[in-house]
Symmetry: C2
Subunit: 262 residues, 2 copies
């Protein structure tokens, strides 16, 4: 049994709370948030507090707070020599105060308030300053059904960057698709099967192999026609940049200098 004190009340904290509660191998000793009201609805199920001085002893303290709060909160902890992990993709482990045994427990997933997550599908990136604490982090990941991945700070920050591309930026492309549909009174729903298939396809195929469409085919007529169809300059800029990117990836640009071919 692993005892955990959870700190924070954002999307990640709430999803971790649910995953920890559902695990037979985890006890949530306490849930801390500086504003009690944010977690008071859970008061019947778990001990909650807004006072750091009340924090009880536990195997690990999981700080699921905003990136900007991590450093200060780790300084404010009124104890030493315990395992304290943050959950951020981009903050250095060394921003944590070294009076405690510092670590990272980064779930590589997108967490929204209203979307339930199947935690068994979430990779957990773990990092520790002292090697002997690694097993506890791995066990905590496994206790919620996740696969732990030991990675370095640099790898974690790189993964977080890649995640911004495949998650936040992809979602913005969905948003633009939605906007474009709305201009002609088309239901966005009609694009759903295509969106799902685009994601499904790369389970068995590299994104390089999976590419199709006008840019990959260097279909200048369609590209020209589509550029005219867009009403927003912002959409045009994104269209041009990503079309050029696909052309470079697949080496289909017509502007290759003659010298490269003989």
């Amino acid at each position: 049994m692993i005892s955990v004190v959870l700190l924070g009340a954002g999307n990640v904290a709430i999803h971790l709370y649910k995953a920890f509660s559902n695990s037979e191998n985890i006890t949530i000793t306490q849930w801390y948030n500086r504003t009690r009201a944010s977690i008071s609805s859970y008061a019947n199920d778990v001990e909650i507090t807004d006072n750091l001085d009340d924090l009880k002893e536990a195997d690990i303290y999981i700080m699921a707070v905003s990136d900007d709060s991590i450093e200060q909160l780790s300084k404010d902890l009124p104890f030493t020599n315990r395992i304290v992990a943050h959950t951020s993709g981009s903050v250095s482990m060394h921003d944590l105060d070294k009076k405690n045994k510092i670590a990272v427990f980064y779930p590589l997933q997108t967490f929204s308030k209203d979307a339930d997550i199947d935690f068994t599908e979430v990779p957990i990136c773990v990092e520790t300053y002292e090697k002997e604490n690694l097993q506890l982090l791995k066990n905590l990941a496994k206790a919620v059904g996740c696969k732990p991945h030991k990675i370095t700070t640099e790898q974690r920050q790189t993964l977080h960057l890649a995640a911004v591309f495949v998650n936040n930026f992809t979602n913005q492309l969905y948003r633009i698709g939605h906007e474009i549909c709305e201009t002609k009174n088309i239901e966005f729903e009609i694009l759903q099967p295509l969106i799902q298939e685009t994601a499904r396809k790369i389970k068995n195929m590299s994104p390089y192999m999976a590419q199709t469409g006008p840019a990959k085919r260097n279909d200048k007529k369609t590209i020209k026609r589509q550029l005219k169809l867009m009403e927003k300059e912002e959409h045009q800029s994104i269209y041009k940049l990503l079309t050029a990117s696909i052309k470079r990836t697949h080496n289909v640009s017509s502007y290759r200098p003659k010298s490269t071919k003989n």
Copy 2:
């Protein structure tokens, strides 16, 4: 029973051939391609030909050929007054020679040679010049288990544009994620659950509501750090443009002119 002559041998043609063959309500009368070799492996299952003069009578002729070939092939057809549909997202129905009854049968999906498609999930956008032919196109869509959507040329071209954003451009973001992972020897596989969840999430939530991440939070520190982390200028340009796009969508830019708020 609907009799179909299929023309073409690209990805769309091959997927349509499979879907038509699997339907109890469709007979494939013939499969035409100008190069016999491309479809000769199917000769035991269906009558194949590379000669337009050999084309037999059928309820509908489905031209799943490249956009650039549609107009000429429709002119070359040696018959009149039959229903002829192309399958393109962007070509006007009126590029088809009006000696026949022209139509469009556009499956809104991404087709790769090696990825099997569940056709029951594919929306088929149908368009006809003469109203009385609409029912046959709808029936053909239903016969392969698809949902038909009657749309206008303008709506189809708009959908095709939106599809480029949510499919081709999204896939290129996956590719960039892959490239970024490779720079630090991280397996792309670790991003798979995030990619699948990003797509899954918008089944029940608008892309606007589903957005998360540094741009949405206007987290300048992370954005600055990530811009430094990228080795390719192309990735940086895409990062900047999509970050700005998310900020505009969610109204989180710090550069809002004072006059807009009082």
